[in-house]
Symmetry: C2
Subunit: 237 residues, 2 copies
């Protein structure tokens, strides 16, 4: 299983083995870096090389300045299913939570304009939120919403799922019309909140409402932690 001849790969394998064997169960906090590096007879730099590579593979995660932890089971996310975060997470026996960072009317960037098919200089609602599973931040989402369809949206309680607000207050139901997976390229704002370097992946989802014209109402950028998500989908038949 990839022993490798380099130190950091040997350390990687050793930690990997401990995790897969169950000796280090999910959620366990690893010993301090200085202690670990001494145990392996190396320096912190090399040890961190090994830990970073495990992080990129989603086997461990870090909490800023608190330490390294063994990753829990990944959430499975199927973007083709027309459900929401809370339903999906609860369905897998985990505890979902949403925290609002900000909600405001902002000028649409060129990119958002195109995505929502809006004329130039249109302001849009931007909602920035964090999503947690079992108390841990696993996702940063940025929603851009066409304000024409949702006047006064900012006065609503944005801690609840947007889909609930759309349905309850605007009688709007939607479908996800397409998604794009960016294997890379974490947004700066997301990086600030997720506090990860390589351990995240991006996803773009757009939605249309179910009226006759099927207009685009919303698009969002989702930045998931690598250790927190497995994306799965069925192909078109």
């Amino acid at each position: 299983m990839g022993q490798g001849r380099n130190q950091y790969q040997i350390i990687r394998s050793a930690l990997c083995e401990q995790i897969e064997s169950g000796a280090l169960p999910a959620g366990t906090k690893l010993p301090p870096e200085r202690q670990l590096s001494e145990s392996f007879g190396t320096t912190r730099v090399t040890l961190r090389e090994a830990l970073s590579s495990l992080e990129a593979d989603g086997m461990v995660y870090r909490e800023d300045r608190r330490g390294w932890f063994v990753s829990p089971e990944r959430i499975v996310y199927d973007p083709t299913v027309n459900t929401n975060f809370h339903t999906m997470v609860k369905g897998q026996g985990r505890m979902p939570e949403t925290r609002l960072i900000s909600a405001a009317l902002v000028p649409a960037t060129t990119k958002i304009q195109k995505l929502l098919q809006l004329p130039p200089l249109t302001p849009v609602y931007r909602v920035q939120r964090l999503r947690l599973v079992d108390q841990r931040t696993v996702l940063y989402v940025e929603n851009y919403i066409n304000p024409e369809y949702f006047p006064g949206l900012l006065d609503q309680d944005l801690q609840q799922p947007l889909s609930d607000i759309y349905r309850t207050h605007y009688s709007t139901r939607y479908s996800k019309v397409n998604f794009r997976l960016y294997p890379v390229g974490i947004h700066d704002e997301a990086a600030t909140h997720l506090k990860v370097t390589s351990g995240s992946s991006g996803l773009l989802v757009t939605r249309i409402n179910h009226d006759k014209k099927k207009r685009l109402i919303d698009c969002d950028f989702e930045y998931w932690r690598q250790d927190a998500i497995v994306i799965t989908a069925q192909a078109r038949k």
Copy 2:
């Protein structure tokens, strides 16, 4: 655009800007690490931190012991489309190529057994290949094939698309039935060939043949370089 206060983030931003502005066109070889680190008034370690983070975002790539390069435009890959690598790449005006690493009858691992719904101890064909775009390795694929449907497959010319072999020699056409995206977790064999640490993402595809029983004929594990692919797909309507 994420200046950051740390050195490596400043360097990151600087390089990022140069690339996005077009001052460093796709394919450009960056100056040697020692020279770059001196230019930025820092050490190689810090410079490499910046480069690695750009690699994780797919903006640059490395060729083992040859240097760092600005990434070309990404290939767009839609896993729900029932096409193959060569068609897809040529359709985007790029030059595809396939190299066979090995093809053999091997004992199925437990995982493969389950995926192909085979009884225990069944041997399967394993085909390992590299795929290149414009001379550059961007993908490592491992195919596991149910030998019951393709007797003598190893005698075929495996440089050509498997789909062509299936159709020409076995009168079999297939659909992709599902795929899974692993945002992380590069396979060891793949790592050997792709020579990347964080710059890759995995994909699992299974296929069924078009006969009345629609049996699983094949599954493959694809490991893409992060800088080489954008995955996109349409949701179920």
